[in-house]
């Protein structure tokens, strides 16, 4: 076997190979981090929606002429049920409100939970309901 065949990789070959691998792994890692962040935001949306549900369910069984269903808003939902201590509230500053709008069939209720993501982007999750005049 000749000496030429036993020669190791040149430094250039190693640099090129490592660069290609690094770019691939970095791209995959960046993709993973993006997807992970999206996943975390979606989980916050789910939590926000469960907070919306709590208020909407209360308002849907509230008598039509009750003061809680006065047309207008946004009203803070704190008086109905304060947000429990959780990451969404304590870290992302979530707050919950609702509006009541008069439409032909009755009162349209919109419950909104809004928060600010760590990158400064405002997010909100809404649920809608309808209460008709008895």
């Amino acid at each position: 076997m000749g000496i030429h065949k036993l020669k190791a990789f040149t430094i250039l070959e190693v640099i090129v190979a490592v660069s290609i691998v690094a770019v691939g792994v970095l791209a995959l890692s960046a993709g993973f981090i993006y997807v992970k962040n999206r996943n975390e935001t979606t989980h916050r949306r789910l939590q926000a929606q469960s907070f919306d549900r709590e208020i909407l369910e209360t308002l849907l069984i509230t008598p039509y002429d009750d003061a809680l269903l006065n047309v207008g808003g946004p009203y803070s939902a704190e008086s109905i049920s304060p947000l429990p201590s959780c990451d969404l509230k304590d870290i992302f500053g979530a707050s919950r409100s609702y509006t009541v709008e008069q439409i032909t069939e009755g009162k349209k209720i919109t419950v909104t939970t809004g928060w600010t993501e760590s990158n400064g982007r405002a997010e909100q999750e809404q649920l809608f309901g309808l209460v008709i005049q008895p």
Partner: protein
């Protein structure tokens, strides 16, 4: 082991590690993506549920006002929801209201039996179909 063989083994080990790394990251992305899509579906199903429930209320409103026409494409909030309300008579002064809401890729179907008495109408039975 000759120098040539040991070099080949080292290369194989490095390639295997790189492959393992890539497969692990890809599995992580796939798992996280599946989780995100499932969460989105759950979010949309819940919204569709409340839109469909509003469709039932709309049906009750119509029956109360002696309007027994079915309706498609009713919009409550303009969020991309599509609500279809079907009213049919099941007995004397009793009506079935079927509300189907399609929202994003999710849909929800709710049925209710409504009893009409004079100028009032009230739900006497709820049926959650899917």
């Amino acid at each position: 082991m000759t120098r040539l063989n040991s070099k080949a083994v080292a290369l194989m080990i490095v390639l295997a590690i790189i492959l393992l790394l890539i497969v692990l990251i890809a599995i992580g992305i796939k798992f996280t993506l599946s989780n995100t899509f499932l969460s989105y579906y759950t979010l949309n199903r819940t919204k569709a549920f409340y839109f469909a429930e509003a469709g039932i209320q709309k049906g009750v409103y119509k029956i109360k006002n002696d309007n027994f026409d079915s309706e498609t494409g009713w919009i409550l909030a303009g969020e991309g929801e599509n609500i279809a309300i079907t009213i049919s008579s099941v007995a004397a002064d009793e009506y079935s209201v079927l509300s189907v809401c399609t929202y994003e890729a999710a849909d929800k179907k709710i049925q209710a039996t409504v009893r009409k008495a004079g100028s009032t109408a009230q739900i006497i039975e709820w049926v959650y179909i899917n």
